[in-house]
């Protein structure tokens, strides 16, 4: 009997759940400091995840001992719990929390059993996680393969691998499962339906998207999760009743942008496309806030380049660079590359359940939500992303078919969460129209 392993999984699941589910910033503090109202409990958990991950970026880049940080954070949680007790804030544990915790446990069991790593994980992601697990310096990444790849994903893995139980490597990857479930349940709150129906929606999304491969150690799933976090807050910015929260939400979005920037290069690219599409069509955001949002995005990108430059770490992947010979091509070559890229985009789109549902809905919404700003945002986002994909895969040093087969599924899945926005957009409009009709 190997009960030790199963008990470790249970304790790790409970630890990660409690670690993030006891917000350091409770509702009262949030209302006081950043004056946010109408934030749900899940929003507060996400707020804590964003704060925690941004702190992780700082302590990893500046090579601060993770053990000190861990105890400091645990202490902060304890103090927050005491503060909550003093403030008489009830511990929120609804049936939704039970579903989240249970799903977290069963998907963690799946992850623990499967253990297979993807090729890239065996090549470099695992070694990056090991670097942090073994308390090696940030600069030590320079000695490992693909040192220019962002490191936040493996750092999270290494952190929860080491803390609190310091045992099997997959205990670290279990944290990805928590973020995944949290992201989906959080997104379901954009639907103006009751909590049970939201849970059903979340379970359908998990049923459609979950596969072990997402959690094989590659950081691609984190792009999906963090863009899903971002999509929810983007949705908030289209709601007039949340207008008073605009600045804090923008601040949160920038926090997510920073996390994406340090997670994977394409993450920040898709995030910037989403923000750009939003500021063009969202008239609820003031010009000042639009300016803050877009300039801060570029500032974050610049800061990352500056920090990495100062530390002497490559800021982009040095082993896969644009070479001059990809610019020389004749018509046949142009036709070959474009047709293959479009073919593989089509093939991988129809293989993804999210796109299979959301793309037809987008087509429907063109007709039904003609002047809807969120719908226009999604359409612009689609055009920009399509243009980017064509450009990126066209000018690649690796052979087009090989490259498309190896990476396109992950890239498309990465930003698929953004397209889920079409569901609340259509459904909420439909429900509100029907309600009005009923009231009349």
């Amino acid at each position: 009997m190997y009960l030790q392993e199963i008990s470790l999984i249970i304790f790790q699941v409970l630890f990660i759940y409690l670690f993030f589910n006891n917000p350091i910033l409770n509702e009262k503090i949030v209302n006081k400091i950043i004056k946010v109202k109408h934030f749900t409990n899940v929003d507060l958990v996400i707020l804590n995840v964003i704060i925690f991950l941004n702190l992780l970026i700082l302590i990893s880049v500046f090579s601060i001992n993770s053990t000190y940080f861990f105890y400091f954070y645990i202490l902060s949680i304890c103090l927050a719990l005491i503060k909550n007790f003093v403030d008489k804030i009830k511990i929120n544990f609804s049936y939704k929390n039970i579903i989240i915790l249970f799903l977290f446990f069963i998907l963690s069991l799946d992850l623990a059993y499967e253990i297979v790593f993807g090729w890239d994980v065996q090549w470099f992601w695992y070694l990056k996680a090991l670097n942090f697990y073994q308390d090696e310096d940030f600069l030590n990444l320079n000695k490992l393969p693909l040192s220019g790849y962002p490191h936040l994903g493996p750092y999270i893995w290494g952190f929860f691998w080491k803390f609190p139980f310091n045992n099997y490597e997959y205990l670290g990857r279990i944290s990805y499962v928590f973020f995944y479930i949290l992201g989906i349940f959080s997104f379901s709150e954009t639907l103006k339906i009751n909590n049970q129906l939201r849970s059903i929606f979340s379970l359908f999304i998990i049923l459609a998207t979950y596969k072990y491969k997402l959690f094989d150690g590659d950081s691609d799933v984190l792009i999906f999760i963090f863009l899903l976090f971002a999509a929810k807050f983007v949705n908030y910015l289209y709601q007039p009743e949340k207008k008073e929260n605009q600045f804090p939400i923008i601040f949160l979005l920038l926090g997510i942008g920073n996390i994406l920037l340090w997670t994977k290069q394409e993450g920040i690219i898709f995030f910037t496309f989403l923000i750009f599409s939003m500021i063009i069509f969202n008239q609820l955001i003031s010009k000042k806030n639009k300016l803050i949002l877009i300039s801060s995005c570029f500032l974050l990108i610049f800061l990352r380049f500056l920090i990495l430059h100062m530390l002497g770490v490559p800021s982009i992947d040095t082993e896969v660079q644009l070479q001059a010979d990809v610019l020389f091509f004749d018509f046949n070559e142009f036709y070959y590359r474009i047709t293959n890229i479009l073919f593989y985009i089509f093939v991988y789109l129809i293989q993804s359940p999210i796109y299979l549902i959301t793309l037809p809905l987008i087509v429907i919404s063109i007709n039904f939500l003609k002047n809807d700003p969120l719908n226009k945002t999604l359409l612009l986002f689609t055009f920009i992303v399509l243009g980017f994909l064509l450009f990126a895969y066209f000018f690649t040093t690796t052979e087009v078919i090989f490259n498309s087969r190896n990476s396109m599924t992950e890239v498309l899945n990465g930003f698929s969460g953004v397209y889920l926005l079409v569901i609340p957009n259509l459904l909420n409009k439909y429900l509100s129209n029907n309600k009005n009709r009923y009231l009349k």
Partner: protein
Amino acid sequence: MNMKKKTKKSISILYTWVIFFLIIIIINNNNIFKKTFKIIKKENYSKRIENVYGYCNGPSVGYLKFIKEKFKLKFNPKIINFDQTSPSDWSIYDLRLEKNNNKIILLNYKKTLSFIFNKQKKNEWTFNDQIQKIESINKIEFTTIYNDETYINGTLNLYEINSRKQKKLVYKKKINQIINSKPINIDFKTENFNSYHGTFLIEFDNLQNNNLKNINNIILSSNNYFKIENYKIINQEKNCYYVSSRN
């Protein structure tokens, strides 16, 4: 009012059942009960690692872990895997230790590496896997249907085919003999019989007779660039070796 409350309650119960069934579907789709049972009863972490990555086959992580434990390695040995699999260095790599290139773990080592070209059409045999670190082609063998004696008079051409189906000649050999009695030794030095994305193709031309239909597979063999006899063998299990340089 009471009716409305009742309906609401039954809808709520219905939703709860839907949630319950969806969770059951997720559990069932991912075989969670079976996996939990296996984790508890049968397969500990090391066993699962060995099941996935093999002991001395494929990435051979089982053998690497065995060597690390048995010899209590205080350095990172050099690892060479002669199978075309994902890298397995990660499984025993310790960033706090130095590399030692004098201690080498050879996985799936064979003195001769064989590449079997499968028949596709009457005059077309292909090999579709990666080929790496090959420095020569040393032998050509033919397997024939029913082992019939087969005489060929023509030129064998070995091509590399890239993903755009463009052919590049790697090697050609005039053959005028019975092909299935013994291998044809050639000892051809080349760096071109290596490919990460491509496919290799064998075709015949200038044929003087029509015996190609008898040929089943064509096997090209290369001597391994790593000469194990120059090293001291510390441990061996099947085709996996832990060796040390003699100086």
